[in-house]
């Protein structure tokens, strides 16, 4: 299986030398396409990876709490530990005791993101579906609607905007400067950076791994003295794989912690 068949890049025709993989990696050939109500859908291998990863995660959690016993067996213990990592470690820590009612959403968010991120280093998949911009956008959109809904429901529509846009304890003339900044920061930048942080980390990590892997193959097959650098490229690919694992879990954790921070900020009464 040659590297050219596996990695996607815009190679000029002829012999261009090293042709690095590009963002076309995230636009593979669709396996099936169909149109529904004028919207074009395509099933690609990224879709299949997303479905498989999510199904795996859902199956694990469902089977962990089926027939729960007072003294848990190992699968139940693992499921409960995983859920309590988010429920106690994040929801209760950041939001407080009222945060426990949002723990199911936060846990689902965390495990969805982490499982799909980790698909970036699993062999035969090796592409994180969260590297397609649509998925982080939808997740950030749900969080955005959620924390605004919580704030408006808890404080009322007027007081919520007043507390956010006109923070107390500021001398009156400075509100001209502060209010647009606060508005942009809370209502525009928060969902945007939430989505882009996850997307950009997954895109960059995938491209790094692909470039080191393609570089290793190219350096081995090029046939001149450059072959001595091929083990360096391979070592970098291995090191970056472990680093990517850290980054993937960390980005999922940061997404969930930021979501809880926004929810906690929306819930507090000034």
């Amino acid at each position: 299986m040659s590297a050219a068949a596996v990695l996607a890049s815009e190679c000029p025709p002829g012999d261009p030398g090293f042709c690095p993989p590009s963002v076309l990696e995230f636009y593979p050939e669709p396996l099936a396409t169909f149109d529904v109500l004028g919207i074009h859908f395509a099933i690609t291998r990224i879709t299949i990876i997303l479905w498989l990863a999510t199904a795996l995660m859902v199956f694990f959690f469902i089977s962990a709490v089926r027939n729960p016993k007072l003294v848990p067996d190992r699968r139940q213990w693992m499921g409960e530990s995983a859920y309590s990592f988010v429920r106690d470690g994040v929801a209760r820590e950041v939001i407080g005791s009222e945060g426990l009612r949002y723990a199911p959403y936060l846990a689902a968010l965390f495990f969805f993101i982490v499982v799909n991120n980790i698909m970036g280093i699993i062999p035969f998949a090796q592409i994180p579906p969260t590297g397609r911009f649509a998925f982080p956008v939808v997740l950030a959109g749900i969080t955005y609607v959620l924390f605004n809904w919580i704030g408006i429901r808890q404080q009322g529509l007027g007081p919520y905007f007043k507390n956010n846009l006109f923070p107390p304890g500021v001398p009156k003339p400075l509100y001209l400067l502060i209010t647009p900044i606060e508005f942009a920061s809370t209502f525009l930048f928060r969902p945007f950076t939430l989505a882009v942080r996850l997307f950009a980390n997954m895109l960059a990590g995938h491209l790094l791994l692909a470039i080191f892997a393609a570089g290793t193959v190219y350096l081995f097959t090029v046939g001149n003295f450059s072959v001595i650098f091929a083990p360096v490229s391979f070592a970098m690919a291995v090191v970056m794989t472990f680093f990517e694992l850290l980054v993937q879990v960390l980005q999922a954790y940061v997404f969930v912690v930021l979501t809880s921070t926004y929810i906690s900020g929306a819930m507090e009464e000034h």
């Binding site: 820590e93 950041v94 960059a204 980005q251 940061v254 912690v257 930021l258």
Partner: protein, 74 residues
């Protein structure tokens, strides 16, 4: 008007190099604060670990953005 100075080649790479300055310093500051706080009061290490990861990811986000934007603006 004639061109006085010109930059050719992969400007995106240069953009990433410039973009990595700030987050590099920022991540260093975050970890330095965590190390100092833990050195002063080791029992607080668990409490501040959440802020460590949060600060690291928020600073790193800008460097990652600098890496990725040239790919998107193909």
């Amino acid at each position: 008007m004639s061109v006085l100075a010109e930059l050719t080649g992969n400007v995106g790479t240069m953009g990433y190099g410039l973009a990595a300055i700030g987050p590099g310093i920022g991540v260093g500051i975050v970890f330095a604060a965590y190390i100092q706080a833990t050195a002063r009061q080791p029992e607080s290490a668990g409490l501040t670990r959440t802020y460590l990861f949060l600060g690291f990811a928020l600073s790193e986000a800008l460097a990652i953005l600098g890496f990725v934007v040239p790919f998107i603006i193909t």
